[in-house]
């Protein structure tokens, strides 16, 4: 279970990215977070694994307090949280396999990963993750030789290799075309249902949010302005979250 209690994040320049956020997410939920750029979606996700330190309040993931955690505690929490990024964040000059193995960093002794001598069990786990996203045949291909959709799949495989209990996706399809976006969102949905991994997805595109989300959280200027079932969401809801009418830019596929 993930719990946000009165969480605030204020950046050094005084920008209040999150204000007094309260949020409870049960195991196995699939939550879509929407909001304008700058509303705090990225900050919300990154506060959860401490990539951005919260300046107030408490965040617990699976019982472990993240705010103010020591480096060792943070590494422990992070090993249980898989993260995928809008720009995929892969190492371009090496193989897909080496990228996915990065997901096993937490469980492997430092000297082994530093020298590149990964145990067989970790290689197998990496292969299994690649199989689950359907690109095991690309295991030894150089990462930069893959398409955007394939690269994001490698990112998902890397997160899955951690065998996480939580999956955070920060605008995972923003750089992808509509068809590939649906495939990736479908992968995330399937992983959530098959493996029971609690999933949070930041989305810019409201049609995707409605199609794949089950619970919707709307952020506006760092505050939660909507938190409820996707079935209860209407265009009016989005208008409240965005503070303006929906435009065609807010949809991935503008096929009315």
């Amino acid at each position: 279970m993930i719990e946000f209690r009165d969480v605030s994040v204020t950046y050094r320049g005084g920008v209040r990215a999150l204000r007094n956020v309260d949020l409870t997410i049960d195991d196995g939920e699939f939550v879509v977070v929407v909001g304008l750029s700058g509303a705090g979606k990225s900050t919300l996700l990154r506060a959860m694994n401490g990539l951005i330190p919260a300046t107030g309040g408490s965040i617990t993931v699976g019982g472990t307090e993240v705010v103010g955690a020591s480096n060792a505690e943070l590494r422990d929490v992070r090993s249980r949280i898989g993260m995928i990024f809008q720009t995929f964040n892969l190492v371009h000059r090496t193989s897909v396999m080496n990228n996915v193995l990065m997901g096993r960093l937490a469980g492997v002794p430092a000297w082994r990963s530093t020298l590149g001598i990964w145990p067989a069990t970790d290689r197998e786990a990496a292969m299994a993750a690649l199989e689950r996203v359907g690109i095991v045949e690309k295991a030894y291909v150089r990462a930069s030789n893959l398409s955007g959709g394939q690269q994001q799949r490698v990112g998902i495989a890397r997160a899955l290799a951690q065998e996480p209990s939580v999956m955070l996706a920060d605008e995972p399809v923003a750089a992808l075309d509509p068809v590939t976006s649906r495939q990736v969102m479908g992968d995330l949905q399937r992983i959530n249902l098959d493996l029971g991994i609690t999933t949070l997805v930041n989305l810019h595109f409201l049609d995707l949010a409605r199609e794949f989300g089950r619970r919707l959280v709307g952020l506006r200027e760092g505050e939660v302005v909507f938190d409820g079932d996707i079935d209860d969401v209407t265009d009016e809801t989005f208008r409240e979250i965005y503070g303006r009418a929906i435009t065609v830019d807010d949809l991935k596929t503008a096929d009315g």
């Binding site: 898989g82 990024f85 964040n89 892969l90 090496t94 990065m102 960093l105 990963s113 530093t114």
Partner: protein, 245 residues
């Protein structure tokens, strides 16, 4: 207008330091040049005279490159805010490099000669320091410019510092590292020859010895051979570097 000023100033400066074009003609018409010819190929291609010392020069260059560049890798990582484990390491490593760079190469050579005596050992150490300085300067910029995003992903997965840097950044910067290493090796070959002139062994010492005996024909022979070897090494190095980056 600026060009005219530059030319004028150059002429004035040249006159002030005693630059005299007529001395060029004097040099070229010196009968001493006759002593450089013919090249005694028998002597030059003899193993003991030239080829063994050339190998020693080569070895000095290789050892210096490996030591200097080997140390430069972790030092460059320690010096970059992107890859340093903490502020202390960052500040300390930068201070060390500032000292290394502030001291002129020849001073390191002198220091080491006083410490360990003249010879290949001192030469190797001096060139190692030189290699370290050059490599760190070149490679730091590569590290600073590396993509930080895979690093973020590695940290998000819960990795410790060194594995994070090893998996998240090293593959990205390794081609440049090897390319710079080859370049430093080229520099070291030539520097090793020069150091040999002041006693650090290798082919430079042969050149200096023959010069002192006024055997300029042998000197020319050796220089031709050195030129060929250096040229070949540089061509190979450039070809490999082009394929790397």
């Amino acid at each position: 207008m600026a060009a005219v000023l530059v030319v004028a100033y150059t002429l004035v400066a040249g006159r002030t330091v005693g630059f005299d074009l007529s001395t060029f003609w004097q040099v070229w018409s010196n009968p001493l040049w006759e002593k450089f010819w013919p090249i005694p190929w028998g002597w030059v291609l003899d193993r003991h005279n030239v080829l063994d010392p050339l190998v020693e020069t080569f070895q000095i260059a290789i050892v210096s490159t490996l030591i200097g560049c080997g140390l430069a890798l972790p030092l460059a990582f320690a010096m970059s805010p992107l890859t340093a484990p903490n502020r202390v390491v960052l500040v300390v490593s930068r201070s060390i490099m500032n000292v290394v760079r502030a001291v002129p190469d020849l001073f390191w050579a002198k220091l080491l000669v006083t410490a360990v005596g003249i010879g290949a050992f001192a030469g190797s150490w001096a060139l190692s320091v030189f290699s370290l300085a050059v490599m760190v300067k070149l490679f730091s910029e590569t590290v600073d410019g590396a993509d930080p995003r895979p690093l973020e992903a590695a940290r998000a997965a819960g990795g410790r510092h060194m594995p994070v840097v090893r998996t998240g950044v090293l593959p990205t910067v390794l081609p440049e590292y090897v390319a710079y290493g080859l370049y430093v090796f080229e520099l070291n070959i030539r520097a090793s020859v020069v150091l040999g002139l002041v006693g650090a062994g290798g082919i430079g010492r042969v050149v200096e010895a023959q010069r002192q005996y006024f055997r300029f024909d042998r000197v020319l022979g050796v220089l031709v051979l050195v030129f060929v070897v250096v040229f070949v090494i540089e061509q190979v190095s450039m070809a490999v570097r082009k394929r790397l980056v």
